[in-house]
Symmetry: D3
Subunit: 246 residues, 6 copies
């Protein structure tokens, strides 16, 4: 159900049957020496395909640019403002609604996009109360992640190019990972980073937040499968709701 | 030179050597029964790869959403406003400049994007006079197209899902074309369509502007190769200019 | 039918009878040594009066400022951004609609305004589907211009202060033309001018694109009369449409 | 010194000598049965010509659209938002500054424009501290108006299509006045009109605020000549200031 | 009736009974050596409380930031743009309307806010024609002020930190006044200050426009009581209107 | 150090000595039957005073309006958009910087403001790299809160009008609390509330998220004192940084 491979003559009926559009959204951003700049895009895209299979959803083409303010000064990062991202997503949402979709699930591979996604979702919801818009960033994986990780997290909410994210890539897109370059770099993130604008170059040279060497496919699998299960449940719940079966 | 497959540790030096970023930009839009919604994305992407090879450029991830005002009411189309598109492209351009790129070539597969691309290019140029921004939509192919086509064009500047565009797809992305569904649908586009807002449903049901059945890989090849040659020349010219060798 | 000479007590009924508003829109822009800065204003205004006579339309006061990005660095040019122009035209359109007009024809004397006019027209059309908004820049004159011109055009779409535009002025506003100062200046416009931001000072010192000396009133008359005929037809067509007679 | 009649080859030196641009700005607005919709445009334009003669200034083409919120529901009014007007005037100011002007005098015929003119002036002043921007609406005429008028003013700051404004027109543009249609209509403007949004249809049917029958050319002359003297002084003062002679 | 001291369970019915919200709005701005930076906030707030008592209105929390362009370069001033202020007030108005309020009275202690308040009021009025929005700056006090003042006003519309405003503070908030520091500083405000952007440092060092030493509580009382009476009448009038009793 | 009580003549030197401005920012929002609508304002304000005493900072007047999207449909809530809030805060920051402040600490009493505060801080930081902007919402209180609370939190990040927030009020502003009205209302917040726009009326009628009856002054004191200590440390750290002593 790759949306852009459909043709206009047949897609209308298929939209009516499915009603669910999934948008993978990531970013182009520095991810250390062993992961590609497009890491968040590959993760979002591959998870989206898996979720779509299980929910009968269409996967839209990946939106591969995101808000990477914190890492924008690292080599290779391309930064989009929240304003641009919100504006684009609202436009897209309007079109999707007019096309007949009633669930719009944004599967997000990059934490920095979270603010824009939520804001865009609210704007669309105000305009179309019967439109369910979801913003999904590895939902419900806190517990499994704690269980899986061998090293302490560098930060309460950030994880980046580390044991965890590298494991995701080993499970979902290992062809883009070069474990021979993986490093251990546990930064000391100052408490002030949560309360004042703090470009990451102030506390890391590598953009790796932890021990990437400990990443394994198995760790990734455990967390990602939980994330996918949760996404499927949330999308099914939204579908029930718009179908009035809930 | 797929940009998002690079890693942050090595990309800086490569950017300094290349200085050229190519952005494929297309759209999700109705293209009749035989071509996929993502036709413009596939075309932009494949041409970009070819051009990058010959110019030593990086290919950025495809921006797969565009301004499709005219066809937005056809099944499957997703429309983005000019404002959103301009804003996003200007953000990207700023980032690319800061990353060290000095040529930003937008290879465009969808005519409806032309206004936004030009406006974004001008805004970036005002901000960075030493930044060459190109917006490329099959440049210099007018003559070869006239030679190649067997049917008269439906319109002076539009071509869509017709003999021409279908030939492009047969040459560049034939795995997405289903010629068994190709149709002949030559609309009578009223003169007023050039001077007043005219959604295409006013003159076509199929969104095909011509005789898609006459499309061949060979026709596509002839035009596309001219387009690619011209793009390469224009990018090389821009590179010479920023290098002061011209 | 000069709109601003009407009085408020009588104009309401007249609007109901006519329903057509014509806005001449031009620019203040360098036009070489022999044509005034206001050339595009004079052309738009005089054509508008002629078209209004034949269609029973009101002529609104000329909007004399336009988007002259390409020539903004030439002495005398005054440049307005697309954003400002669009915003102003949308405001005007809303007022005209509320006043009872149902056809809003923008007669444009300056190519640089074309993008803003089309965008404003689309925004108004989205808001008022029964409002016909036309943007008219010498429509349907391609053929007659080819026939009339003695020199080759410098560019596929631009013409400026040349054989053609000077002929327009000789026919419509010769009191502002000083043919004794007319020059021949055939620039070599690089192919890149169509694909990258290119202020015209990069290829011309005079802003004249051709041989102004060859201009004659007769040439102007031939083209302008075709343009006026076409405008009249397009406006009549729009009127029929809003009156449901088509 | 009609700016749009100048040519690009000679205007540069003239701008350097003069440095002063005058923009007449008015509106299209209901002015009762005896005055035309374009009253404010004619007044602004004719005063501008007189002021230009005495100050060596250039007169730019009249901006004939303004903010007429209060009267926008009267037949014939065309309303522009403050936002659009500010944006356009700031664009113009930037261009005028870049062209070499150092005094930008907006001669305003319509009180409703005052807010936008002042705001635009402040924005330009912030950007270019050595740019003098003036917004002139019959400056310094309070006393002479009190002396001249035979009827009490309907309102502390508004006057409209009344004894006073009609006198202005009789002095400056009598060819557009039809005194045979002049009426006496002294509305009772509620005190609340100064403190809450109050479209004028709430207190007048005619849009005439007073006794238009008492208007005479002589009354107009007395006030207008004071206004012009004051404008000349203010512009000369601004010129002295930018020339450092003050 | 301090709105923020109400609780959510009981406030709904109270809003239905009252329907009137009063917003005190002031500024943080230089007021000479004897008055505090928050002078306009204290005045707006205390007057609001008095007016609320007499009209059964709710007093909202004071909005303590305003547009102080003219004095923004004086120590202690905090300046907000008109755009920000308008946007905030429109948001607030929408919420108040949705909460059931039908009269929104902005009691303004700072003249510089007047433009933003009026513009916000118009935008809200366009959206909700049955919503009465009032912007109140010492209404109807011109005559009493003339009677009370011993010194001539420095300017037709401005008064600041002078005999008048200091008297207001002595009557309403004397605990914040230090009369031992009061000064006499009668600036010569140039005529051009009304027609060109003029930061006040161009004509005053103290920001006092007059003789603050002459201020008395009694003078303040006389004017303020007139202002309050007029505000009460205007709000009662608005209430009658929305209740259809007028 | 109440900023608005300072006078303009003395404040300049004091700013130079302190360099720190604290903005209390809250909201008007439903807080159940026992807490006032202005709860977040009172909390922000009282904490700000305490922090200011210990850091030598100025306390600016409280900004009493915030983004309360989630609760905007509850009686008494007044909602401001993120856009308006960001715009206002950026204006304020610019003014504070120009006035000589180098630390701008926003002490926030309402979680809904967090997005706008962070975005405004980033915009200001981009403009003034030597300006430290802090957004502080009970920093570093996670652990102590876990220790103090007797009931389980209803949600990972939200707390509202519950055991915790009521305790804050009992410690800091008990005169506004009516414990006789305190209720126990433990809602079942669906998992989807974190991933799709969910106005709180979907899961609570009271807006109380927990057991307000268990609130005590002592619990409030324990958490608030930790919060204040942390704020003081963060502000001192910022001050050291701008003073180059760190």
């Amino acid at each position: 159900m790759i949306f852009q491979n459909e043709n206009s003559f047949e897609v209308k009926e298929k939209i009516e049957n499915s009603k669910i559009a999934i948008l993978p959204i990531g970013a182009v951003e520095a991810h250390g020496p062993h992961l590609p700049l497009g890491t968040d895009n590959y993760l979002a895209e591959r998870i989206s395909e898996r979720v779509a299979e299980r929910t009968g959803a269409f996967v839209l083409p990946t939106l591969p640019y995101g808000q990477v303010w914190s890492l924008k000064n690292f080599p290779g990062s391309i930064n989009i403002s929240n304003e641009s991202l919100i504006s684009l997503l609202v436009d897209m949402g309007v079109s999707l609604y007019e096309q007949g979709f009633r669930v719009f699930a944004m599967i997000n591979g990059h934490l920095g996009n979270a603010v824009a996604l939520k804001e865009a979702a609210r704007k669309l919801y105000q305009q179309y109360p019967d439109f369910k818009i979801l913003y999904l960033f590895y939902p419900g994986t806190k517990k499994v992640t704690e269980e899986v990780r061998e090293t302490k997290s560098s930060h309460a909410t950030y994880f980046h190019a580390c044991e965890i994210e590298t494991s995701y890539m080993l499970y979902l897109a290992k062809e883009y990972v070069d474990m021979s370059k993986a490093i251990t770099d546990i930064p000391n993130i100052p408490a002030s980073a949560d309360v004042t604008p703090t470009p990451w170059e102030e506390f890391t040279n590598s953009a790796v937040l932890g021990d990437a060497k400990l990443a394994t496919k198995e760790k990734g699998e455990k967390i990602i499968e939980v994330a996918i299960d949760n996404m499927v449940k949330l999308i099914e719940g939204a579908k029930d709701e718009i179908n009035g079966t809930k």
